[in-house]
């Protein structure tokens, strides 16, 4: 074979193409100039999306990864460019999203001299990545990129950063993509054998249980184990509740699906978990937003934890039986052993709880003022529940989880673990490159949208087919809710002004609408559904609305504040 002498910059693109990369999200700058120069040669194979901020690039890579199941790639320059990526890396780390970030670094002789735009990014991101590299030798470049992709997508996925000095990008070297398997010392491969004793124990615990609950987490989606979870639920009559990131793991329409658990979880789900005698935790990590007070969490239940990452076992909640392994694989082995069973009395109890909560629901009421929950419920109906929804962080995020009834896996993308405001718009742009068949809706608050609103320009430049629904209540609503409940309604710095979003849309070059009342919702949604490209609707909603049910931080799950019959807000002042 003919020897191919390439520059480091060319090797970067050659490697990305071999890893199946078709789109990258980035922002050029001094230390990454050689890579951008080489991109000209590869632009037929790789589409580069110019973002308006490097944080946006990382969220786009993340959104792309979550929607496609492939590794998302973000690229940026040294120093401030790299530093801007940290929020996106931390977001991806907390939510186990596979992304690879490539950053330029100052030339090797200048490293350590506090050169212009120098920053130790591979050191700075250690706590928020699965791994990070600083490539100091051109012969390590291709193997490092291959290894980075393997680490990002294997096991429990996560972000990896590769820092590449500018002079190394210009250096020439013989390009050979490393053949064969990537081999690394750590990050132990997933156990491929399951202790049959553990399975037998699980079977026994399931058959003895009278009040069992399945907890479906993000791991169900990552492992692709929806079918197995549903089978287990149906075979043994076990109702299911899901975490925020487990939304869509089980169809919302499934009769055994009780809805979300945790702080803003459904009344039925939280009550069931609190009163259960068995929890089967599938690919989830007992986050504090899920458990409330861990000391009194589901006090009478035995707990089975099926989890790929051994460091999550017994971290937050002590369990009686831990099965470490790939969820789909474990469940496939478990299912044939499980006995058929119906827990009729338990199911009846769960149904009663469910009906009790639904009857109080604001979406079924005629109100003068528009409510966020009504917007999302109507959006769900208008889109036939078939959109990919990218939600941001705050009240609207919880309302989305409650009222947009996802029936398919990977149709809700949201920043669950880190709770990164500003995630949704860029993540949706990223997702639009992964899925061109479904409508992509951004559900975002007036606070969150203003954190990364600059990416509207990216959406216009790329003609991304995304529809932005701003739920505008004039407040940083979730913080305001906490201030009302726990800080005697002292609304410190939570009222927030907004630009005129319709005019702003026009200025950015997209179509914008504003909706004040419920009867306008359907028509306006129909209008933007016809638009091929970005569009925006601002929904002006009740300012003092709260998200219910709510388990106050650190309380027991059965101490939740239920949905009120109907709240009057005359006393509340703006």
């Amino acid at each position: 074979m003919q020897k191919r002498i390439l520059t480091g910059a060319e090797i970067i693109w050659e490697c990305l193409i071999r890893e199946g990369v078709e789109v990258v999200f980035g922002y050029p700058g001094g230390a990454i100039l050689p890579a951008y120069d080489a991109l000209n040669k590869y632009s037929d194979s790789v589409h580069h999306v110019l973002t308006r901020h490097e944080q946006g690039a990382t969220h786009m890579a993340d959104g792309y990864a979550r929607a496609s199941g492939k590794v998302g790639v973000a690229i940026g320059t040294s120093g401030p460019g790299a530093a801007n990526m940290i929020t996106g890396l931390a977001t991806a780390m907390m939510d186990s999203s596979p992304i690879v970030c490539i950053t330029g670094q100052v030339p090797r002789p200048a490293i350590g001299s506090d050169a212009f735009q120098e920053m130790d990014i591979s050191g700075a991101v250690i706590p928020v990545t699965k791994h990070s590299y600083l490539v100091m030798d051109i012969q390590d470049l291709a193997p490092t990129i291959k290894e980075a992709f393997a680490i990002a997508r294997s096991g429990r996925p996560g972000p990896v950063l590769i820092d590449i000095p500018k002079d190394l990008q210009a250096e020439e070297f013989e390009f050979l993509y490393p053949e064969g398997q990537v081999l690394i010392p750590g990050e132990n491969p997933i156990k491929s054998d399951i202790d049959s004793f553990e399975l037998d124990q699980a079977v026994e615990m399931i058959s003895e249980a009278k009040k069992p609950v399945i907890l479906a987490g993000h791991g169900v989606l990552i492992s692709g184990a929806s079918e197995e979870v549903i089978s287990l639920s149906e075979k043994s009559g076990i109702p299911i509740s899901w975490t925020l990131l487990g939304s869509g793991a089980v169809p919302s329409s499934h009769p055994l699906n009780m809805g979300m658990m945790g702080m803003h979880g459904e009344f039925a789900a939280n009550n069931a978990i609190h009163n259960a005698d068995l929890l089967i935790a599938c690919g989830m990590r007992f986050d504090d937003r899920v458990t409330g007070n861990t000391k009194t969490y589901s006090p009478d239940s035995k707990k089975i934890h099926i989890e790929v990452d051994p460091s999550e076992i017994n971290k937050n909640v002590k369990v009686d039986l831990a099965i470490n392994g790939d969820l789909k694989f474990v469940l496939k082995n478990l299912l044939p052993k499980v006995k058929e069973k119906k827990n009729k009395a338990w199911y009846k109890q769960v149904s009663e709880w469910r009906d009790e909560s639904a009857s109080r629901d604001i979406i079924n009421m005629d109100t003068e003022i528009l409510y966020g929950a009504q917007v999302i419920s109507d959006l769900w109906k208008e889109t036939n529940g078939d959109a990919i929804v990218v939600s941001d962080v705050g009240q609207h995020q919880m309302l989305e989880a409650q009222y947009y009834k996802h029936d398919e896996p990977n149709t809700l993308l949201t920043s669950g673990g880190l709770g990164t405001m500003g995630f949704s718009l860029p993540a949706a742009i990223g997702a639009s490159f992964a899925n061109r068949d479904k409508d992509i809706w951004v559900i975002v608050g007036d606070g969150s949208i203003q954190m990364t609103i600059t990416e509207l320009a990216t959406a216009v430049q790329e003609n991304s087919n995304i529809k932005v629904a701003i739920i505008n209540n004039g407040y940083l609503g979730m913080v305001r809710q906490w201030q009302q409940l726990f800080y005697d309604s002292r609304y410190s710095e939570t009222p927030i002004s907004s630009p005129d979003y319709v005019k702003l849309s026009e200025a950015y070059g997209l179509k914008g609408y504003r909706v004040y009342s419920r009867d306008q919702i359907s028509d306006t949604i129909k209008k933007v559904q016809k638009i091929n490209g970005p569009s925006l609707i601002e929904f002006v909603v009740e300012k003092h609305d709260m998200v219910y049910p709510m388990v106050p931080a650190g309380a027991n799950l059965d101490e939740m504040i239920s949905r009120p019959v109907h709240e009057q807000f005359e006393d509340a002042e703006m």
Binding site: I126, I151, V182, P185, I190, S311
Partner: protein, 176 residues
């Protein structure tokens, strides 16, 4: 309870940074860290003594360390038949009348004199945890000018397979 862990890792720049970063961000209570080269090229060995009262957290520490890409293996030496050694250098100021007592201490075998002049002396202490601790306590009756402890190194007795680290690389992918 004190846990003594022996870590085997790739000898690469930044690997110690990764361990200390992990220890700090997971809020583990660390008593001592010692690292150095080994009989195998490219492999660094570390003895990590953790003082973590929470039993479940103790297991989490090992699993968290194992998640690091550059770590080959972690051997738990806690409760094993194991030698834990420590070094210390102590500089004390002395008067002539103290010399006899110091000689006695030296003859007990727990320390030796590295350096001595009219009014100061450097002593080298080595031994297991308690001898170093006790000798330092004894020396406190003098004026300690400087004290330096190496941290603890551990080696498990015998040649049992279960105490041997896995020093092979493997694929992170899972073929299920």
């Amino acid at each position: 309870m004190k846990q003594t862990l022996i870590l085997f890792m790739q000898d690469e720049p930044g690997v110690l940074n990764r361990i200390s970063s992990l220890v700090r961000r997971r809020n583990f209570n660390i008593e001592s860290i010692v690292a150095g080269r080994t009989e195998k090229k490219g492999i660094t060995r570390m003895t990590l003594v953790v003082n973590e009262p929470d039993m479940t957290k103790q297991k989490t520490i090992i699993n968290n360390i194992k998640r690091l890409v550059e770590i080959y293996d972690v051997v738990d030496a806690t409760g094993q038949d194991c030698h834990i050694r420590e070094h210390a250098l102590v500089k004390i100021s002395i008067e002539d009348k103290d010399k006899k007592e110091i000689d006695k201490l030296v003859s007990s075998g727990n320390c030796k004199i590295l350096d001595s002049d009219k009014n100061a002396m450097i002593l080298e202490l080595s031994g297991n945890e308690s001898t170093v601790e006790d000798t330092i306590k004894t020396l406190k009756r003098y004026n300690i000018l400087e004290l330096l402890r190496s941290g603890k190194m551990a080696m498990i007795s015998g040649n049992k397979d279960k105490h041997k680290p896995k020093l092979i690389k493997s694929s992170p992918y899972w073929e299920g």
